[in-house]
């Protein structure tokens, strides 16, 4: 493996592959993340839910530094996120991310989308990169679409390409920001199935989603956020059957009502 992260004791890696300690973030005057403390172990699968605007996206975008935090510590794979560009690059190679709107590159074919980062970041020979690309396309079950452009695919297929694109970089951690909320109902399942398969390989996953079925089958832990804070976290059955806070209960009743 081409893991270049400094090798510290394996125990700390296993215990906290992602550590967020007292993280605060502001957008200008607006206090968007308040005192976030979160430890994620290797292989853990975490689902984050909460009302719109509660800071879920901001939280996971801090993990690969698409957003900058102003206070506290974020340590990913034993590397602390600071403004040091080397560290940021290193972490972005280790952490894959899927967006709500896929963000595939429309001017490149599906296969080119997949090989872009391996070629330019990992410096893999083209033929090898294409091999890797095809391997992951097979894994998300659309190898026959390799030469098409993203615009020619359905939403569900596009999101699966986006997942494959992240996997091509061989990440240790995958972040998902509402991967199914821009999709039609019949396509949600195909994406969720892909994610469940991924979970079965033992990938560390943090997933913002309101798909409660997915949370119940896959997650080790569910985290509920409101107003920029973690209100409560629990293992899924306990979380759904026996919420600790009034706020959580209200939220769950709204989610399950429709």
């Amino acid at each position: 493996m081409q893991n270049t992260a400094p090798q510290e004791t394996t125990e700390t890696q296993k215990a906290g592959i992602i550590q967020m300690i007292g993280v605060h973030k502001w957008y200008g005057e607006f206090h968007v993340l308040k005192d976030i403390n979160l430890l994620v172990d290797q292989g853990e699968r975490i689902v984050i839910c909460g009302p719109s605007g509660s800071g879920k996206s901001t939280l996971i975008r801090c993990i690969n530094r698409l957003e900058e935090h102003q206070q506290g510590q974020i340590i990913v794979d034993s590397v602390e996120l600071t403004s040091d560009l080397k560290h940021i690059e290193q972490i972005r190679r280790e952490v894959g991310m899927c967006f709500q709107h896929f963000n595939l590159f429309p001017h490149l074919t599906v296969l080119e989308n997949l090989t872009l980062a391996p070629i330019w970041v990992r410096k893999v020979p083209k033929a090898e990169a294409e091999e890797i690309g095809m391997k992951y396309l097979e894994r998300v079950k659309i190898p026959d679409q390799a030469q098409k452009f993203p615009g020619q695919l359905s939403g569900g297929q596009q999101q699966r390409v986006a997942i494959a694109r992240s996997l091509c970089m061989n990440p240790n951690i995958m972040l998902f920001d509402e991967p199914t909320s821009a999709l039609d109902p019949e396509m949600i399942k195909e994406v969720l199935d892909t994610m469940i398969e991924l979970a079965e390989t033992g990938m560390t996953m943090i997933c913002v989603t309101h798909e409660m079925g997915f949370a119940k089958t896959v997650a080790n832990r569910v985290i509920f956020m409101d107003e920029g804070q973690i209100v409560e976290e629990n293992e899924p059955n306990e979380f759904f059957d026996n919420p600790q806070h009034e706020r959580t209960k209200l939220f769950l009743s709204q989610i399950l009502a429709h």
């Binding site: 952490v95 709107h101 595939l104 001017h107 872009l116 330019w120 410096k123 083209k126 615009g151 992240s166």
Partner: protein, 397 residues
């Protein structure tokens, strides 16, 4: 039952001809052709009789007659004894040179300002905005006349030139530069330059192949820059600098020798560049902004650095948006160069549609020839644009 089937199967009842859309449409078109034909016929008739009255013979015979007037600037050999036909080419080339230089300079300046407008440096972005908002809301003709009259004519006379060393002189007759004189051996420098270009093409291919096989990347851009400057320079030094300069020198009241850029050219080029750059800057800005922020974020999340993100993700998408309006700015610049007339720069309109027309009175022929030049250029560019758009569209979907 059989009756109905019969009706449906064979013919639909025909409407009366004046209600039949097909007949109507034929009728309108015939009328339109008739009106147009009559229009052109009467114009033609009037023109012929008007020209006969004033004693001007029609036709293109005048093009072979001696022109008898001088032209301020010419890229080809020309003096009073050449023909009217040649004045056409002198003007055409003068238009071409100013448009060509203008397009290159305006593109560079426009991209710089457009990117500055998007800079996250507040001051730089505000300065770019101020430039754009001032320049594009003032008529180009005013700007051309301003630079020509208020700035260049206000320069000192040749005796009091603004100097840079003893080789560059700026005065109200224009800019005087040393003229290079190539000696034996300079040919080798040119060859070295060509060799460098060939090498770059080869290295680019080689680097791509190597990348595909081993994954290693090669700094193609830096190597290219080094090659294209270094190789000719080395040969140049090795040959003992086979070049000498003919300097301009003040003799009595004017400069002789060297090369001269006339002030009309400078004013026109300067104004065209500034004006068009303001529009190009806006095109560049909106092109870059048209690429959604999600694209940058996706590239970042994959670990791409700023350079490759720009080169591989942002620019290819932005260029699709930028290029069509950019070419129409190039067309505008070329058409706008005809404002040269106002300051006496001898472009096509000024020389041919101005002086030649005045001397010969061949209005119809001359206006038609001049317009044909611009039309050919416009239609040619649009054809290329259509081809480009189709190609880009093909690559995308």
């Amino acid at each position: 039952m059989s009756d109905q089937a019969d009706k449906a199967g064979t013919t639909v009842a025909k409407p009366p001809p004046w209600n039949d859309p097909f007949v109507r449409s034929i009728f309108f078109q015939v009328v339109a052709i008739g009106l147009l034909g009559y229009f052109f016929y009467s114009i033609f008739d009037n023109t012929l009789s008007n020209m006969a009255k004033s004693g001007v013979s029609t036709g293109f015979a005048f093009l072979t007659r001696e022109a008898g007037f001088g032209i301020l600037m010419s890229l080809i050999e020309y003096d009073e004894t050449h023909t009217y036909g040649r004045t056409f080419f002198v003007g055409l080339l003068n238009t071409a040179i100013v448009a060509f230089c203008g397009i290159i300079l305006a593109t560079i300046l426009g991209f710089v300002i457009g990117i500055a407008r998007l800079s996250n440096n507040w001051l730089v972005s505000k300065l770019a905005t101020v430039y754009i908002e001032i320049i594009r809301n003032i008529p180009l003709l005013l700007q051309i006349i301003f630079w020509s009259v208020a700035v260049l004519q206000a320069l000192p006379d040749p005796q009091n030139s603004i100097k840079y060393g003893e080789s560059f002189f700026l005065n109200n007759r224009g800019l005087f530069l040393p003229k290079p004189i190539f000696e034996d051996g300079f040919g080798l420098v040119t060859i070295a330059f060509l060799v460098a270009i060939a090498a770059i093409v080869y290295i680019k291919r080689w680097a791509r192949q190597r990348q595909e096989q081993s994954g290693d990347q090669f700094p193609v851009f830096l190597t290219s820059v080094a090659l294209i400057t270094g190789l000719p320079l080395l040969v140049f030094l090795a040959m003992g600098m086979p070049i000498s300069w003919e300097y301009s020198a003040l003799e009595r009241f004017s400069f002789v020798g060297g090369s001269n850029i006339i002030p009309e050219f400078m004013a026109l080029l300067w104004a065209l560049t500034m004006y068009t750059a303001a529009f190009i800057a806006e095109i560049v800005r909106s092109g870059i902004q048209a690429v959604s922020h999600g694209q940058t974020e996706a590239a970042r999340a994959l670990g791409l650095r700023n350079g490759p993100t720009l080169r591989l993700v942002i620019i290819p998408q932005a260029m699709r948006v930028i290029i069509p309006p950019l070419t129409s700015q190039y067309l505008n610049l070329t058409k706008n160069s005809s404002l040269a007339t106002a300051i006496g720069y001898p472009d096509l309109v000024s020389v041919f549609m101005g002086t030649t027309l005045n001397q010969t009175g061949q209005a119809v022929e001359i206006v038609a020839m001049t317009m044909a030049v611009y039309l050919t250029f416009s239609l040619g560019i649009s054809a290329i644009m259509n081809w480009y758009n189709k190609r880009v569209a093909l690559v995308e979907r």
